[in-house]
Symmetry: C2
Subunit: 221 residues, 2 copies
DNA sequence: AAAAAAATGTACGAGACAGTTAAATAACCA
DNA sequence: TGGTTATTTAACTGTCTCGTACATTTTTTT
Protein backbone atom coordinates (compact mmCIF):
# COMPACT_ATOMS: atom_id res chain seq x y z
CA UNK A 1 0.00 0.00 0.00
CA UNK A 2 2.64 2.43 1.06
CA UNK A 3 4.91 3.23 -1.82
CA UNK A 4 7.68 4.93 0.04
CA UNK A 5 10.46 3.21 1.81
CA UNK A 6 11.81 5.17 4.72
CA UNK A 7 15.52 4.97 5.06
CA UNK A 8 16.00 3.39 8.42
CA UNK A 9 19.70 2.90 8.14
CA UNK A 10 20.71 6.48 8.91
CA UNK A 11 23.35 6.97 11.46
CA UNK A 12 22.62 9.04 14.51
CA UNK A 13 25.47 11.02 15.90
CA UNK A 14 26.16 11.23 19.64
CA UNK A 15 24.42 14.57 19.72
CA UNK A 16 21.24 12.90 18.47
CA UNK A 17 21.33 14.59 15.07
CA UNK A 18 21.48 12.84 11.78
CA UNK A 19 23.41 15.51 9.89
CA UNK A 20 21.43 14.57 6.84
CA UNK A 21 19.06 17.43 6.07
CA UNK A 22 17.97 15.92 2.82
CA UNK A 23 17.24 12.64 4.52
CA UNK A 24 15.18 14.48 7.11
CA UNK A 25 13.11 16.09 4.36
CA UNK A 26 12.57 12.79 2.63
CA UNK A 27 11.68 11.12 5.89
CA UNK A 28 9.05 13.75 6.65
CA UNK A 29 7.63 13.55 3.14
CA UNK A 30 7.42 9.78 3.26
CA UNK A 31 5.54 9.79 6.54
CA UNK A 32 3.31 12.67 5.48
CA UNK A 33 2.49 10.90 2.23
CA UNK A 34 1.02 7.96 4.05
CA UNK A 35 -0.75 10.11 6.62
CA UNK A 36 -2.39 12.39 4.04
CA UNK A 37 -3.19 9.52 1.71
CA UNK A 38 -4.87 7.69 4.54
CA UNK A 39 -6.77 10.51 6.19
CA UNK A 40 -6.85 13.41 3.79
CA UNK A 41 -5.53 16.92 4.34
CA UNK A 42 -8.02 17.96 7.01
CA UNK A 43 -8.00 14.53 8.61
CA UNK A 44 -4.23 14.17 8.68
CA UNK A 45 -2.51 15.28 11.85
CA UNK A 46 0.76 17.14 11.96
CA UNK A 47 1.49 15.77 15.41
CA UNK A 48 0.92 12.27 14.16
CA UNK A 49 3.30 12.84 11.26
CA UNK A 50 5.91 14.27 13.61
CA UNK A 51 5.57 11.32 15.95
CA UNK A 52 6.17 8.81 13.18
CA UNK A 53 9.15 10.75 11.90
CA UNK A 54 12.62 10.41 13.25
CA UNK A 55 12.67 14.17 13.70
CA UNK A 56 10.38 16.64 15.44
CA UNK A 57 7.37 18.78 14.61
CA UNK A 58 9.48 21.87 14.61
CA UNK A 59 11.36 20.54 11.61
CA UNK A 60 8.18 20.16 9.63
CA UNK A 61 7.51 23.84 10.09
CA UNK A 62 11.14 24.63 9.52
CA UNK A 63 11.22 22.96 6.13
CA UNK A 64 7.66 23.27 4.88
CA UNK A 65 6.24 26.33 6.56
CA UNK A 66 2.84 24.97 7.38
CA UNK A 67 0.59 21.99 6.92
CA UNK A 68 -0.43 23.00 3.42
CA UNK A 69 3.17 23.59 2.44
CA UNK A 70 3.90 20.05 3.50
CA UNK A 71 0.98 18.78 1.49
CA UNK A 72 2.26 20.59 -1.59
CA UNK A 73 5.65 18.96 -1.12
CA UNK A 74 3.99 15.57 -0.77
CA UNK A 75 2.06 16.10 -4.01
CA UNK A 76 5.17 17.26 -5.83
CA UNK A 77 7.09 14.20 -4.75
CA UNK A 78 4.25 11.88 -5.80
CA UNK A 79 3.91 13.44 -9.24
CA UNK A 80 7.65 13.48 -9.73
CA UNK A 81 7.79 9.73 -9.10
CA UNK A 82 5.12 8.86 -11.65
CA UNK A 83 6.58 11.16 -14.29
CA UNK A 84 9.99 9.63 -13.82
CA UNK A 85 8.60 6.18 -14.43
CA UNK A 86 6.52 7.26 -17.39
CA UNK A 87 9.64 8.68 -18.95
CA UNK A 88 11.32 5.31 -18.82
CA UNK A 89 8.64 3.50 -20.75
CA UNK A 90 10.00 2.31 -24.04
CA UNK A 91 7.26 1.37 -26.42
CA UNK A 92 8.65 2.75 -29.65
CA UNK A 93 9.69 -0.48 -31.28
CA UNK A 94 6.44 -2.36 -30.90
CA UNK A 95 3.45 -2.45 -33.25
CA UNK A 96 0.97 0.30 -32.31
CA UNK A 97 -1.71 -2.06 -31.03
CA UNK A 98 0.72 -3.83 -28.75
CA UNK A 99 2.22 -0.56 -27.57
CA UNK A 100 -1.15 0.86 -26.67
CA UNK A 101 -2.17 -2.26 -24.82
CA UNK A 102 1.06 -2.29 -22.92
CA UNK A 103 0.76 1.39 -22.00
CA UNK A 104 -2.79 0.87 -20.78
CA UNK A 105 -1.91 -2.17 -18.75
CA UNK A 106 1.09 -0.39 -17.30
CA UNK A 107 -1.09 2.51 -16.18
CA UNK A 108 -3.68 0.20 -14.70
CA UNK A 109 -1.08 -1.73 -12.79
CA UNK A 110 0.80 1.34 -11.65
CA UNK A 111 -2.30 2.95 -10.17
CA UNK A 112 -3.24 -0.26 -8.48
CA UNK A 113 0.19 -0.67 -6.98
CA UNK A 114 0.41 2.95 -5.87
CA UNK A 115 -2.81 3.57 -4.04
CA UNK A 116 -1.25 6.35 -2.01
CA UNK A 117 -0.79 8.31 -5.21
CA UNK A 118 -4.39 7.74 -6.25
CA UNK A 119 -5.69 8.79 -2.85
CA UNK A 120 -3.55 11.92 -2.79
CA UNK A 121 -4.98 12.93 -6.14
CA UNK A 122 -8.49 12.32 -4.82
CA UNK A 123 -7.75 14.49 -1.82
CA UNK A 124 -6.31 17.22 -3.98
CA UNK A 125 -9.40 17.16 -6.17
CA UNK A 126 -11.62 17.53 -3.14
CA UNK A 127 -9.66 20.71 -2.57
CA UNK A 128 -10.27 21.75 -6.17
CA UNK A 129 -6.64 21.53 -7.14
CA UNK A 130 -5.72 24.50 -4.99
CA UNK A 131 -2.31 23.12 -4.06
CA UNK A 132 -1.42 21.93 -7.51
CA UNK A 133 -2.32 25.37 -8.78
CA UNK A 134 0.17 26.88 -6.39
CA UNK A 135 3.03 24.55 -7.28
CA UNK A 136 5.25 25.67 -10.14
CA UNK A 137 7.20 22.44 -9.92
CA UNK A 138 4.29 20.26 -10.87
CA UNK A 139 3.01 22.46 -13.62
CA UNK A 140 6.46 22.60 -15.12
CA UNK A 141 6.69 18.81 -15.27
CA UNK A 142 6.01 18.16 -18.87
CA UNK A 143 3.52 15.49 -19.48
CA UNK A 144 5.70 12.87 -21.04
CA UNK A 145 2.95 10.33 -21.37
CA UNK A 146 1.32 12.45 -24.03
CA UNK A 147 4.42 12.21 -26.20
CA UNK A 148 4.46 8.48 -25.84
CA UNK A 149 0.80 8.33 -26.75
CA UNK A 150 1.19 10.71 -29.66
CA UNK A 151 3.92 8.55 -31.11
CA UNK A 152 1.90 5.37 -30.79
CA UNK A 153 -1.22 6.93 -32.19
CA UNK A 154 0.47 8.52 -35.20
CA UNK A 155 2.15 5.27 -36.08
CA UNK A 156 -1.15 3.46 -35.75
CA UNK A 157 -2.90 5.87 -38.05
CA UNK A 158 -0.06 5.73 -40.57
CA UNK A 159 -0.25 1.95 -40.60
CA UNK A 160 -4.00 2.04 -41.06
CA UNK A 161 -4.84 0.20 -37.84
CA UNK A 162 -6.15 3.25 -35.92
CA UNK A 163 -8.88 5.54 -37.13
CA UNK A 164 -7.78 9.15 -37.62
CA UNK A 165 -9.17 12.24 -35.96
CA UNK A 166 -9.00 11.18 -32.33
CA UNK A 167 -7.81 13.65 -29.71
CA UNK A 168 -5.02 11.92 -27.82
CA UNK A 169 -6.10 13.64 -24.63
CA UNK A 170 -9.33 11.69 -24.94
CA UNK A 171 -7.37 8.48 -25.18
CA UNK A 172 -5.29 9.40 -22.18
CA UNK A 173 -8.34 10.46 -20.19
CA UNK A 174 -10.02 7.14 -20.87
CA UNK A 175 -6.98 5.15 -19.83
CA UNK A 176 -6.60 7.24 -16.69
CA UNK A 177 -10.26 7.19 -15.77
CA UNK A 178 -10.62 3.45 -16.10
CA UNK A 179 -7.41 2.78 -14.19
CA UNK A 180 -8.03 5.38 -11.53
CA UNK A 181 -11.64 4.49 -10.82
CA UNK A 182 -10.73 0.90 -10.16
CA UNK A 183 -8.76 2.09 -7.16
CA UNK A 184 -10.49 5.30 -6.16
CA UNK A 185 -14.03 3.91 -6.04
CA UNK A 186 -13.24 0.39 -5.02
CA UNK A 187 -14.68 0.70 -1.51
CA UNK A 188 -18.14 1.96 -2.47
CA UNK A 189 -18.37 -0.01 -5.69
CA UNK A 190 -17.44 -3.27 -4.03
CA UNK A 191 -19.97 -2.73 -1.28
CA UNK A 192 -22.84 -1.85 -3.56
CA UNK A 193 -22.23 -4.49 -6.19
CA UNK A 194 -20.98 -7.08 -3.74
CA UNK A 195 -17.86 -7.84 -5.71
CA UNK A 196 -14.37 -8.03 -4.39
CA UNK A 197 -12.42 -5.98 -6.89
CA UNK A 198 -9.07 -6.50 -5.23
CA UNK A 199 -8.44 -10.16 -5.87
CA UNK A 200 -5.72 -11.11 -8.26
CA UNK A 201 -8.25 -12.65 -10.61
CA UNK A 202 -10.61 -9.68 -10.56
CA UNK A 203 -7.76 -7.29 -11.26
CA UNK A 204 -6.42 -9.34 -14.15
CA UNK A 205 -9.86 -9.61 -15.70
CA UNK A 206 -10.62 -5.96 -15.30
CA UNK A 207 -7.25 -4.93 -16.65
CA UNK A 208 -7.93 -6.93 -19.78
CA UNK A 209 -11.36 -5.34 -20.16
CA UNK A 210 -9.86 -1.88 -19.77
CA UNK A 211 -7.22 -2.58 -22.40
CA UNK A 212 -9.83 -3.99 -24.77
CA UNK A 213 -11.99 -0.94 -24.24
CA UNK A 214 -9.16 1.39 -25.16
CA UNK A 215 -8.07 -0.64 -28.17
CA UNK A 216 -11.60 -0.94 -29.53
CA UNK A 217 -12.01 2.80 -29.15
CA UNK A 218 -9.06 3.66 -31.36
CA UNK A 219 -9.18 0.75 -33.76
CA UNK A 220 -10.34 1.16 -37.29
CA UNK A 221 -13.66 -0.52 -38.22
CA UNK B 1 -23.95 22.78 -8.33
CA UNK B 2 -26.02 22.16 -5.25
CA UNK B 3 -28.62 19.54 -5.92
CA UNK B 4 -30.84 20.11 -2.95
CA UNK B 5 -33.47 22.76 -2.66
CA UNK B 6 -34.15 23.82 0.89
CA UNK B 7 -37.78 24.44 1.58
CA UNK B 8 -37.85 28.07 2.52
CA UNK B 9 -41.59 28.40 2.63
CA UNK B 10 -42.10 26.78 6.02
CA UNK B 11 -44.23 28.62 8.41
CA UNK B 12 -42.72 29.73 11.70
CA UNK B 13 -45.08 29.82 14.66
CA UNK B 14 -45.05 32.67 17.17
CA UNK B 15 -42.94 30.56 19.48
CA UNK B 16 -40.22 30.49 16.87
CA UNK B 17 -40.54 26.77 16.14
CA UNK B 18 -41.52 25.27 12.87
CA UNK B 19 -43.46 22.29 14.24
CA UNK B 20 -42.25 20.32 11.26
CA UNK B 21 -39.79 17.70 12.51
CA UNK B 22 -39.47 16.09 9.14
CA UNK B 23 -38.75 19.40 7.53
CA UNK B 24 -36.10 20.05 10.13
CA UNK B 25 -34.41 16.75 9.29
CA UNK B 26 -34.50 17.49 5.58
CA UNK B 27 -33.19 20.99 6.15
CA UNK B 28 -30.25 19.68 8.15
CA UNK B 29 -29.46 17.02 5.54
CA UNK B 30 -29.59 19.53 2.72
CA UNK B 31 -27.18 21.88 4.42
CA UNK B 32 -24.91 19.05 5.57
CA UNK B 33 -24.83 17.66 2.04
CA UNK B 34 -23.33 20.82 0.67
CA UNK B 35 -20.96 21.25 3.61
CA UNK B 36 -19.58 17.70 3.43
CA UNK B 37 -19.48 17.73 -0.35
CA UNK B 38 -17.48 20.91 -0.27
CA UNK B 39 -15.08 20.20 2.58
CA UNK B 40 -15.19 16.49 3.28
CA UNK B 41 -16.08 14.75 6.50
CA UNK B 42 -13.10 15.92 8.53
CA UNK B 43 -13.14 19.35 6.93
CA UNK B 44 -16.86 19.93 7.36
CA UNK B 45 -17.89 21.77 10.49
CA UNK B 46 -20.91 20.90 12.57
CA UNK B 47 -21.16 24.47 13.80
CA UNK B 48 -21.12 25.74 10.25
CA UNK B 49 -23.90 23.35 9.28
CA UNK B 50 -25.91 24.40 12.31
CA UNK B 51 -25.46 28.06 11.46
CA UNK B 52 -26.75 27.62 7.92
CA UNK B 53 -29.71 25.63 9.13
CA UNK B 54 -32.96 27.14 10.30
CA UNK B 55 -32.58 25.11 13.47
CA UNK B 56 -29.81 24.65 16.03
CA UNK B 57 -26.85 22.41 16.62
CA UNK B 58 -28.78 20.69 19.35
CA UNK B 59 -31.15 19.26 16.75
CA UNK B 60 -28.34 17.78 14.71
CA UNK B 61 -27.26 15.74 17.69
CA UNK B 62 -30.84 15.02 18.62
CA UNK B 63 -31.64 13.49 15.25
CA UNK B 64 -28.34 12.13 14.06
CA UNK B 65 -26.38 11.33 17.19
CA UNK B 66 -23.03 12.61 16.04
CA UNK B 67 -21.15 13.98 13.06
CA UNK B 68 -20.70 10.58 11.47
CA UNK B 69 -24.34 9.71 11.96
CA UNK B 70 -25.18 12.87 10.06
CA UNK B 71 -22.77 11.91 7.30
CA UNK B 72 -24.41 8.50 6.99
CA UNK B 73 -27.80 10.18 6.65
CA UNK B 74 -26.40 12.49 3.98
CA UNK B 75 -25.03 9.54 2.01
CA UNK B 76 -28.28 7.65 2.30
CA UNK B 77 -30.26 10.59 1.00
CA UNK B 78 -27.86 11.08 -1.92
CA UNK B 79 -27.99 7.43 -2.97
CA UNK B 80 -31.76 7.33 -2.57
CA UNK B 81 -32.07 10.22 -5.00
CA UNK B 82 -30.00 8.67 -7.75
CA UNK B 83 -31.68 5.30 -7.39
CA UNK B 84 -35.10 6.93 -7.64
CA UNK B 85 -34.13 8.61 -10.90
CA UNK B 86 -32.52 5.49 -12.33
CA UNK B 87 -35.74 3.64 -11.65
CA UNK B 88 -37.65 6.08 -13.82
CA UNK B 89 -35.48 5.57 -16.88
CA UNK B 90 -37.53 3.97 -19.62
CA UNK B 91 -35.32 2.56 -22.32
CA UNK B 92 -37.15 -0.65 -23.05
CA UNK B 93 -38.77 0.31 -26.35
CA UNK B 94 -35.64 1.52 -28.10
CA UNK B 95 -33.14 -0.42 -30.18
CA UNK B 96 -30.30 -1.69 -27.94
CA UNK B 97 -27.64 0.58 -29.40
CA UNK B 98 -29.78 3.64 -28.88
CA UNK B 99 -30.74 2.54 -25.38
CA UNK B 100 -27.17 2.02 -24.35
CA UNK B 101 -26.09 5.35 -25.75
CA UNK B 102 -28.93 7.07 -23.98
CA UNK B 103 -28.17 5.36 -20.68
CA UNK B 104 -24.52 6.32 -20.94
CA UNK B 105 -25.29 9.91 -21.81
CA UNK B 106 -27.81 10.10 -19.01
CA UNK B 107 -25.24 8.88 -16.50
CA UNK B 108 -22.62 11.29 -17.78
CA UNK B 109 -25.00 14.21 -17.58
CA UNK B 110 -26.39 13.22 -14.20
CA UNK B 111 -22.97 13.04 -12.62
CA UNK B 112 -21.99 16.33 -14.15
CA UNK B 113 -25.14 18.01 -12.91
CA UNK B 114 -24.87 16.53 -9.43
CA UNK B 115 -21.34 17.24 -8.39
CA UNK B 116 -22.27 17.11 -4.74
CA UNK B 117 -23.10 13.45 -5.19
CA UNK B 118 -19.81 12.73 -6.90
CA UNK B 119 -17.86 14.53 -4.20
CA UNK B 120 -19.66 12.72 -1.41
CA UNK B 121 -18.77 9.42 -2.99
CA UNK B 122 -15.14 10.53 -3.27
CA UNK B 123 -15.15 11.46 0.40
CA UNK B 124 -16.73 8.17 1.37
CA UNK B 125 -14.10 6.29 -0.59
CA UNK B 126 -11.34 8.16 1.21
CA UNK B 127 -12.92 6.71 4.33
CA UNK B 128 -12.85 3.25 2.73
CA UNK B 129 -16.61 2.96 2.61
CA UNK B 130 -16.87 2.74 6.38
CA UNK B 131 -20.17 4.63 6.52
CA UNK B 132 -21.74 2.85 3.61
CA UNK B 133 -20.80 -0.41 5.26
CA UNK B 134 -22.69 0.62 8.36
CA UNK B 135 -25.85 1.69 6.53
CA UNK B 136 -28.42 -1.03 6.01
CA UNK B 137 -30.57 1.39 4.06
CA UNK B 138 -28.08 1.83 1.27
CA UNK B 139 -27.12 -1.79 0.98
CA UNK B 140 -30.75 -2.74 0.77
CA UNK B 141 -31.30 -0.38 -2.18
CA UNK B 142 -31.30 -2.75 -5.05
CA UNK B 143 -29.21 -1.66 -7.91
CA UNK B 144 -31.88 -0.93 -10.47
CA UNK B 145 -29.45 0.24 -13.10
CA UNK B 146 -28.14 -3.30 -13.47
CA UNK B 147 -31.61 -4.53 -14.44
CA UNK B 148 -31.88 -1.81 -17.04
CA UNK B 149 -28.47 -2.72 -18.38
CA UNK B 150 -29.16 -6.45 -18.34
CA UNK B 151 -32.30 -5.91 -20.39
CA UNK B 152 -30.53 -3.77 -22.96
CA UNK B 153 -27.58 -6.10 -23.23
CA UNK B 154 -29.64 -9.27 -23.60
CA UNK B 155 -31.72 -7.70 -26.32
CA UNK B 156 -28.59 -6.53 -28.07
CA UNK B 157 -27.06 -9.98 -28.02
CA UNK B 158 -30.31 -11.55 -29.19
CA UNK B 159 -30.44 -9.16 -32.11
CA UNK B 160 -26.85 -9.86 -32.99
CA UNK B 161 -25.58 -6.30 -32.52
CA UNK B 162 -23.72 -6.95 -29.25
CA UNK B 163 -21.06 -9.56 -28.77
CA UNK B 164 -21.91 -12.17 -26.16
CA UNK B 165 -20.01 -13.05 -23.00
CA UNK B 166 -19.62 -9.61 -21.50
CA UNK B 167 -20.11 -9.13 -17.77
CA UNK B 168 -22.66 -6.34 -17.39
CA UNK B 169 -20.89 -5.12 -14.29
CA UNK B 170 -17.94 -4.37 -16.52
CA UNK B 171 -20.17 -2.31 -18.75
CA UNK B 172 -21.59 -0.47 -15.80
CA UNK B 173 -18.17 0.10 -14.30
CA UNK B 174 -16.92 1.59 -17.53
CA UNK B 175 -19.90 3.91 -17.84
CA UNK B 176 -19.53 4.97 -14.22
CA UNK B 177 -15.79 5.40 -14.33
CA UNK B 178 -15.80 7.56 -17.44
CA UNK B 179 -18.66 9.70 -16.18
CA UNK B 180 -17.35 9.97 -12.65
CA UNK B 181 -13.76 10.78 -13.52
CA UNK B 182 -14.84 13.69 -15.66
CA UNK B 183 -16.16 15.36 -12.52
CA UNK B 184 -13.99 13.89 -9.77
CA UNK B 185 -10.63 14.58 -11.38
CA UNK B 186 -11.51 17.70 -13.27
CA UNK B 187 -9.44 20.02 -11.09
CA UNK B 188 -6.11 18.19 -11.35
CA UNK B 189 -6.61 17.02 -14.91
CA UNK B 190 -7.51 20.49 -16.18
CA UNK B 191 -4.49 22.00 -14.49
CA UNK B 192 -2.02 19.44 -15.76
CA UNK B 193 -3.29 19.23 -19.31
CA UNK B 194 -4.29 22.87 -19.51
CA UNK B 195 -7.76 22.13 -20.78
CA UNK B 196 -10.97 23.55 -19.45
CA UNK B 197 -13.16 20.48 -19.13
CA UNK B 198 -16.20 22.34 -17.88
CA UNK B 199 -17.23 24.30 -20.94
CA UNK B 200 -20.40 23.34 -22.69
CA UNK B 201 -18.47 22.33 -25.77
CA UNK B 202 -15.90 20.25 -23.91
CA UNK B 203 -18.63 18.41 -22.03
CA UNK B 204 -20.62 17.67 -25.17
CA UNK B 205 -17.55 16.39 -26.95
CA UNK B 206 -16.41 14.24 -24.07
CA UNK B 207 -19.88 12.85 -23.54
CA UNK B 208 -19.94 11.72 -27.14
CA UNK B 209 -16.52 10.12 -26.78
CA UNK B 210 -17.63 8.28 -23.66
CA UNK B 211 -20.75 6.97 -25.35
CA UNK B 212 -18.72 5.88 -28.39
CA UNK B 213 -16.26 4.12 -26.12
CA UNK B 214 -18.99 2.13 -24.43
CA UNK B 215 -20.76 1.27 -27.68
CA UNK B 216 -17.59 0.15 -29.36
CA UNK B 217 -16.79 -2.03 -26.40
CA UNK B 218 -20.02 -4.01 -26.59
CA UNK B 219 -20.59 -3.93 -30.34
CA UNK B 220 -20.04 -6.92 -32.54
CA UNK B 221 -17.46 -6.35 -35.21
C1' DA C 1 -56.36 16.40 32.37
C1' DA C 2 -52.35 14.08 33.78
C1' DA C 3 -48.44 11.75 32.27
C1' DA C 4 -45.19 10.49 28.91
C1' DA C 5 -42.64 11.36 24.86
C1' DA C 6 -40.83 14.29 21.42
C1' DA C 7 -38.72 18.55 20.12
C1' DT C 8 -36.01 22.59 21.00
C1' DG C 9 -32.95 26.56 23.00
C1' DT C 10 -28.80 28.26 25.59
C1' DA C 11 -24.58 27.94 27.34
C1' DC C 12 -20.48 25.79 28.19
C1' DG C 13 -16.59 22.41 28.89
C1' DA C 14 -12.84 19.26 27.55
C1' DG C 15 -9.74 18.07 24.42
C1' DA C 16 -7.58 18.43 20.04
C1' DC C 17 -4.56 20.71 17.02
C1' DA C 18 -1.92 24.10 14.19
C1' DG C 19 1.59 26.81 14.85
C1' DT C 20 5.24 29.48 18.06
C1' DT C 21 8.86 30.68 21.42
C1' DA C 22 13.28 30.48 23.07
C1' DA C 23 17.53 28.41 23.38
C1' DA C 24 21.28 25.93 21.80
C1' DT C 25 24.63 23.26 18.98
C1' DA C 26 26.90 22.02 14.65
C1' DA C 27 28.47 22.96 9.91
C1' DC C 28 30.24 26.06 6.72
C1' DC C 29 32.85 29.72 4.93
C1' DA C 30 35.53 33.98 4.52
C1' DT D 1 39.13 31.86 13.82
C1' DG D 2 35.07 33.92 14.18
C1' DG D 3 30.80 34.89 12.38
C1' DT D 4 26.84 33.32 9.74
C1' DT D 5 23.69 29.88 8.57
C1' DA D 6 21.58 25.39 9.16
C1' DT D 7 19.45 22.22 12.37
C1' DT D 8 17.24 20.67 16.31
C1' DT D 9 14.51 20.13 20.98
C1' DA D 10 10.81 20.64 24.33
C1' DA D 11 7.36 23.09 26.21
C1' DC D 12 3.77 26.30 25.37
C1' DT D 13 -0.41 28.99 23.50
C1' DG D 14 -4.65 30.24 21.64
C1' DT D 15 -8.30 28.84 19.11
C1' DC D 16 -11.32 25.80 17.13
C1' DT D 17 -14.69 22.22 17.45
C1' DC D 18 -17.25 18.31 18.89
C1' DG D 19 -20.37 17.08 21.98
C1' DT D 20 -23.22 17.67 26.40
C1' DA D 21 -25.85 19.39 30.55
C1' DC D 22 -29.77 21.46 31.78
C1' DA D 23 -33.96 23.66 31.15
C1' DT D 24 -38.21 24.21 28.75
C1' DT D 25 -41.99 23.75 25.61
C1' DT D 26 -45.04 21.18 22.54
C1' DT D 27 -47.37 17.03 21.12
C1' DT D 28 -49.23 12.60 21.90
C1' DT D 29 -51.07 9.06 24.70
C1' DT D 30 -53.74 7.25 28.42
Amino acid sequence: MNTLAVNNSRKIEPDGRSHDPDGVRRDIIAVATSEFAEKGLSGGRVDEIAARTRTSKRMIYYYFGDKEGLFVAVLEAAYARIRAIEGELDLAGMPPLDSLRKLTEFTFTYQNSNQDFVRLVMVENIHNGAHLARSETIQALNVSVLNVLRDIYDRGVAQGVFRPGIDIIDIHMTISALSFFNVSNRATFSLIFKRNMATRAALAKRRAVVADTVLRFVSKS
